[in-house]
Symmetry: C2
Subunit: 153 residues, 2 copies
Amino acid sequence: MNSANSDLIDFKIRHSWHRISRMYNQKAASEQMTMSYGFILMFIERKGTPSTQLGPKMGMEATSLSRTINAMEKDGLLIREVSKNDKRITLVYLTEKGVEKRKLVKKFILDFNERINLKIKKKDLEGFYKVMNVVDDLVDDILEENKLINEKV
Amino acid sequence: MNSANSDLIDFKIRHSWHRISRMYNQKAASEQMTMSYGFILMFIERKGTPSTQLGPKMGMEATSLSRTINAMEKDGLLIREVSKNDKRITLVYLTEKGVEKRKLVKKFILDFNERINLKIKKKDLEGFYKVMNVVDDLVDDILEENKLINEKV
């Protein structure tokens, strides 16, 4: 199976994501950040984002997310404030420095995606999205099947 | 940018890999394994694989790889032996139990890929691979560009 691994759709996706995250981490390091910093910057909204919403949005574990947010607060990229409307909610806001870094991150992400788009035909991109959507739907089905099996056991 | 994140090619790949790895981890847990166990089982060859080759093949960090290999040896899935031809090399072999688990993993991976393939058209799959190859090549270019910039600084 070894030689054929790279032909498998999921191995291709895994390999690609590993390479992309390596690239993002390399770029982030040159700005004294990590890839996770970049993603968090992108997901925080101007009106403040409840800290509990960041994890599910980003698919990050709670402990690793809260460690990263602490580090980012220490680095002056964001602040946390209890919501005026609901004292149970902590909102995360970007500082001025955070907004600056967010611009850099956004530019890098958009440039990267634009460079890809320049090199591919529309019909290939449509094929890509169709395959990715089939994969997503199938993964959802299998997660649901396994949940049902586990509940029976 | 938030609402548009999911249209970005790299965000789509990231999201997809997160979902796939969740599925694999769920399945692996039902066999008292982790996804990393499964990948390592798939990458070990019958004639023995040098332990130092596993990391680069799998894109796993050395420390996390060696921790996982230790755990797998303790669980009786593999053994390590110094190579008879070169005493500096440690070879990793699957045990009988390891071979059995490998069959399960292989079946799960191939079934998953077959179920995807049944749902997509050949031309869409071609588009998918074209896009993934463009992404891979561009990531390589950017990693190289950044390396040159960092060397200059």
